[in-house]
């Protein structure tokens, strides 16, 4: 028997669908029952741990230690540390608003009506400026807060947004240089991109955090946070440049030739003909890359920054709650999951909508 396509399946009546999808052959029945029981058991154990035997009230700390279930009390007691890190307590509403600004900017830039280069750049400049002013303070009567005190979700979002914001234009430059007709330029750029791509992100971050200060004059060093962001942005740009290059290569050669025949100059060809189409082709892998970039911001924990993962570890690091590490990890994982899952679902939706990949 052959497997029906999804469209055929949804048209079938329910009992037949149940039979075809779950109990088609004897082996299918065995598989369905085994995996069904396994799924149920997993769900039930999780439910038991996370809900039935769980404690939420911080007063119940001692009961928590004895209990088999989850101790969400650590979250209710320490959620501010997890989300905001060392940010001054009375000012944490600013940190929350700043996170909201970045999230809103991201959601807005997912709307097709913002998809022109001008609108997108304006949106991100405004969103990012709002974030920075809220976090840094110093004007509009806001008390100044140094970057050293930033932490938690806000720091994660800041690194992510800054990396994409710096890395995206840089990646276009890299891709164009790599595609240059001048052999030495394209070869050198290719060498740089390939070398950086074959190094792990962690070593790049480490090099920018620890090694660069030796290799540059003092006035160029700046804060460690910004050095790491620049390093990460260059790393991001090298990957994104290859994605854009792939998008450019999938264009028919006739596009550029027609533009040349019309007498358009290099920048006109690139700006009006090549890049818009290349970006459209490269949209699914681009979103994938952005998703990976968001996930991997958590590596800054190792360099010693207080992002959401590090602040989560700090929340359960003290003796009082040290038994509840797993709960904090699950909480932080959930936050990451919400962001990453919605971004990747949006990518999948976009892929279907644009019809890219179904040709």
């Amino acid at each position: 028997m052959s497997v029906p396509s999804p469209a055929e399946i949804s048209r079938q009546p329910f009992p037949k669908l149940l039979k075809d999808r779950y109990f088609a052959t004897r082996i299918d029945t065995i598989v369905t029952v085994t995996f069904g029981l396994l799924t149920l058991w997993l769900l039930w154990s999780f439910f038991e741990w996370a809900v039935l035997h769980a404690y939420v009230d911080p007063e119940d700390r001692d009961a928590c230690v004895q209990s088999e279930g989850a101790c969400w009390a650590v979250i209710t007691a320490r959620w501010r540390i997890v989300l905001f890190g060392l940010y001054p307590f009375e000012e944490q509403w600013r940190s929350a608003l700043a996170c909201l600004a970045i999230v809103l900017t991201t959601i807005l830039s997912c709307l097709p009506s913002f998809w022109t280069a001008l609108r997108l750049s304006l949106l991100w400049i405004v969103g990012f400026a709002a974030f920075y002013i809220l976090m840094r303070g110093g004007i509009l009567g806001l008390a100044p807060v140094s970057e050293r005190d930033w932490g938690g979700l806000a720091l994660t979002l800041f690194i992510f947004a800054a990396v994409v914001l710096i890395g995206m234009p840089l990646s276009i430059v890299f891709a164009l240089l790599r595609r240059s007709n001048l052999p030495w330029i394209s070869r050198t750029m290719g060498l740089v991109i390939d070398t950086i791509r074959s190094l792990p992100l962690l070593t790049i971050m480490f090099a920018f955090a620890v090694v660069i200060p030796f290799a540059t004059p003092d006035w160029m060093n700046g804060q460690q946070l910004y050095r790491v962001i620049v390093g990460y942005a260059i790393f991001f740009a090298c990957y994104q440049a290859e994605i854009i290059r792939g998008g450019i290569q999938s264009l028919p050669a006739g596009q550029e030739e027609a533009a040349k025949a019309l007498g358009l100059g290099y920048w006109q060809r690139v700006g009006y003909i090549i890049l818009p189409q290349a970006f459209r082709n490269a949209l699914p892998p681009t979103i994938n890359q952005v998703v990976i970039t968001f996930k991997e911001t958590s590596l800054v924990t190792i360099i010693g920054f207080f992002d959401i993962l590090a602040s989560g570890r700090a929340a359960s690091g003290t003796g009082e709650w040290s038994f509840a590490t797993i709960e904090v990890y699950v909480f932080v994982a959930f936050i990451f999951f919400v962001f990453v899952f919605s971004l990747s679902r949006y990518g999948a939706y976009l892929e279907r909508r644009l019809g890219v990949g179904t040709r």
């Binding site: 030495w184 290799a215 797993i326």
Partner: protein, 388 residues
């Protein structure tokens, strides 16, 4: 001067010279500044420090190492640890990935559901968070005193996992693994150059000889390397506050292996799934028309075709996964990167060590890509009927 720039070739050459020149200058300037800065701290540049003793300990090592070993040896220990971690995690990730990928394309609703849950959970959470999670879980296991061995051979304790082991020297294990690799390599080579043209009966005979010889050499290598006056097999036994005998796998290594293979498995599952979906329907229908069973269609038609389709993507994935092994530093697994960063802290020879780090990763990545490309060539289908 301005006339010169109107000539397109001159202009192009100047442009290229400026671009390459400024990049080279940038790198040179950085290296020179670093050298002045470092020599101001009283450090001499050069690779002489590799001969000095380190004075620090490494918790996990495949070869002999002590605090009086040299930096060069410490770096080799780190490199071997990284390769070891990769050699354990990548195959495991592949196995998990194929299993989940098959589940997700099986056509059975329940298997697909379970596979989807797996992929969505493990792909959408950062690897380092997963690593911390598994590590915390392993450390929360009972202490060796309270741990009850499973089947009298495997003990899960907070201080490590104890499994049965062989009393053989490390060199003979290496030799045995090399024998196995040589056998696989030889069969790939023969499959490409010899067996595709030979008679079926002859191929079968030669395959049998090859695998029997490989197996014999494998066993012989282990047998010759056994440590005298000890039983060949050692089992972990509770003794005092700890376990004695068997092999102890440190929680750090174990957490790294689990995290990387579970995370990598989710990615590989997606690749495998796309591979299965790319096998033309006609292939399966042709198999059905020939009266092959479901299992035969799967093992003889769909799986071999899917693996060939996804091989190029998998090569990238393996390189990417291998680079991900550097996160071991987060839980103090002494891999290549951790040894280098400790060495930088301790010796201050920043430039040389960063050079070694880059060189090491470039060498490993290019070797991995080269080997996998040879495998890809060896298993590629000949003929024109199916270009994929």
């Amino acid at each position: 001067m301005s006339a010169m720039f109107k000539n397109r070739r001159t202009r192009d050459n100047v442009l290229q010279a400026v671009f390459v020149g400024s990049l080279v200058l940038l790198v040179l300037a950085m290296v020179l500044t670093a050298r002045t800065n470092l020599s101001a701290q009283g450090l001499t540049s050069g690779f002489g420090f590799l001969e000095r003793t380190t004075g620090w300990r490494i918790s996990f090592s495949l070869i002999d190492y002590s605090t009086s070993s040299t930096y060069a040896r410490a770096i080799i220990v780190g490199l071997l640890n990284s390769l070891f971690l990769g050699a354990l995690s990548l195959p495991l990730a592949t196995v998990i990935g194929i299993a989940i990928g098959v589940m997700r394309t099986s056509g059975n609703g329940m298997a697909e559901l379970l596979g989807t849950i797996y992929v969505e959970i493990f792909r959408n959470v950062p690897l380092i968070l997963q690593l911390f999670f598994w590590y915390a879980l392993l450390l929360a296991l009972p202490s060796p005193r309270n741990a009850e061995p499973i089947l009298a051979s495997i003990a899960l304790t907070g201080r490590g996992i104890y499994i049965p082991g062989l009393n053989v020297s490390g060199g003979s294990v290496l030799a045995a693994v090399l024998m196995l690799l040589a056998g696989v390599g030889l069969s790939l080579w023969a499959g490409k150059n010899r067996w595709s043209r030979a008679q079926r009966a002859q191929v079968r005979r030669e395959k049998r000889i090859l695998w029997a010889a490989t197996g014999l050499l494998f066993v012989a290598a282990l047998w010759l390397g056994r440590i005298p006056d000890t039983p060949l097999l050692t089992l972990p036994e509770p003794r005092g506050l700890n376990f004695d005998g068997g092999i102890r796998i440190s929680p750090e290594l174990f957490a790294c292996v689990i995290a990387i293979s579970v995370y990598g498995g989710a990615y590989i599952a997606e690749i495998i799934r796309s591979g299965f979906n790319a096998v033309p329907r006609g292939m399966r229908e042709a198999g059905e028309a020939l009266g092959l069973s479901g299992l035969q269609i799967f093992t003889r038609i769909r799986l071999p075709l899917a693996i060939r389709i996804v091989m190029p993507t998998m090569i990238n994935q393996y390189v990417w996964l291998f680079k991900a092994t550097t996160i071991g530093i987060a839980i103090s697994f002494t891999d290549f990167f951790m040894v280098i960063s400790t060495s930088i802290n301790q010796s201050g020879q920043t430039l040389e060590l960063i050079g070694i780090l880059m060189g090491g990763f470039l060498a490993i990545n290019y070797t991995l890509v080269w080997v996998l490309n040879r495998v890809n060539d060896a298993i590629a289908l000949r003929g024109t009927q199916l270009r994929m």
